[in-house]
Symmetry: C2
Subunit: 153 residues, 2 copies
DNA sequence: TTTATTTATATCGTTCACGATGCAAATATA
DNA sequence: TATATTTGCATCGTGAACGATATAAATAAA
C-alpha cells in the first residue's frame, strides 16, 4: 500500500491539470476554424478588453512570461490578427494592436463562451456554485503568483 | 464595453489553466533535483500505485494519449527510472515497469505532497473545503471526458 | 557624463500536448 | 482460412510553456 498523499486521487494539481487540458480541448473545435489556439484566444480576450498593449502587460495579465507569448504573438501577426510596433516613448517596448481582422473575430466567436459554458455545467458546477469555485481558484492563483523576492546579495 | 462573457475575469478555463500552470511550477524545484518533470511525476504516481502497466492503461489513467506519454516514457527509460518491455500475451503492448531507481524515488520524494499542500493552503482552500473543490473538478473532468461516440457510417 | 544596473523583449533548447499518420499484432468477418 | 477491421503503440509536425541567455534601450549611480 502506498501512502495516502501519493495517491493520484488525492492530488489537487492532477485535477487542475486534467480539467484545464480537457476544457482547452473543448475550445479547440470552436477556435480552429479561425486558425486560433486556446492561448491565442486568451490573448484576444486581453486585447478586446484593452487594445494596444505592450507585450509585458499582456504577459502579466495572463500570468505568462514574455518568452512564451512573443512567438505566439509573432504567429498571430503572421495570420494578420494583430500588429507589433515599436513603442514611441519607450523604444524597448513592442506594442500589440489588433487589426480589423482581429477585432472582427469577436463577432465571429460570439457563441464560444456560451457553448463552452454549457459543456461544463453539471450538478456541482453551475451559475450558482461558480462564484465559490472562482474564489477558490483565484485564491490558489494569488497564493502561487506572489512575486518572488529578488536574491539578497 | 465588451460583453460580460468575454471578460477574462469571468472565464473558468483561464482560471484552471493558470492555477494548473502555477501549481505545476510549484512542483518544479521539488522534482528537478531528481531530473523529473511534473508529467513524469504523474507517471510515477500511477506506477507506484500499480507497477507493470501497459502504456495504454497509464495514458487512460492520466487522461492523456499514448502519443504524449510514449516519448515521456522513453525519456524516463533513458534516465533508468523504468523499463519498457514487449507484452508476452499481447505483442502489441509495451509494459512499463519501475526499476529499483524508480521505486526508490518514492522515498526521496516523500516530502513533496506535504510541501505543495502547504503552498496552496489558504482561506478558501484547506482540508475542510478541499472535498468540495475536488468534487467540482471531478465533475468537470467527468463531463468533458465522456468517450466521443464513433462516427456513424 | 561615463559607467553600472535594470528593464523590455527576443532567441534558444527541452519537454510536453495533441492531431494526423503509420505499422504490426490481434480480432472479427466473410 | 483468407480478408477486413480494430487495437496498441510509435513517429511526425506544430504550438505552447519555461528556464537560460542575449541584446538594446532606459534609468540609476558614480
Amino acid at each position: 500500500m502506498i501512502p495516502e498523499e501519493f495517491k493520484l486521487d488525492n492530488q489537487l494539481c492532477f485535477r487542475l491539470y486534467t480539467a484545464s487540458r480537457l476544457l482547452s480541448q473543448a475550445y479547440h473545435p470552436l477556435l480552429c476554424g479561425d486558425g486560433l489556439t486556446y492561448p491565442q484566444y486568451l490573448v484576444l480576450l486581453v486585447l478586446w478588453e484593452k487594445d494596444a498593449q505592450p507585450v509585458n502587460d499582456i504577459a502579466k495579465r495572463l500570468f505568462l512570461e514574455t518568452n512564451t507569448i512573443t512567438p505566439l504573438l509573432q504567429r498571430m501577426e503572421k495570420e494578420g490578427i494583430l500588429k507589433r510596433t515599436k513603442g514611441k516613448e519607450d523604444a524597448r517596448q513592442t506594442i500589440v494592436t489588433l487589426t480589423r481582422k482581429g477585432k472582427n473575430l469577436q463577432k465571429k466567436l460570439a457563441e464560444v463562451p456560451q457553448t463552452v459554458g454549457s459543456a461544463v455545467t453539471c450538478d456541482s458546477v453551475n451559475p450558482e456554485t461558480a462564484p465559490e469555485l472562482f474564489r477558490m481558484l483565484d485564491d490558489i492563483i494569488a497564493r502561487l503568483s506572489l512575486p518572488k523576492e529578488p536574491e539578497v546579495r
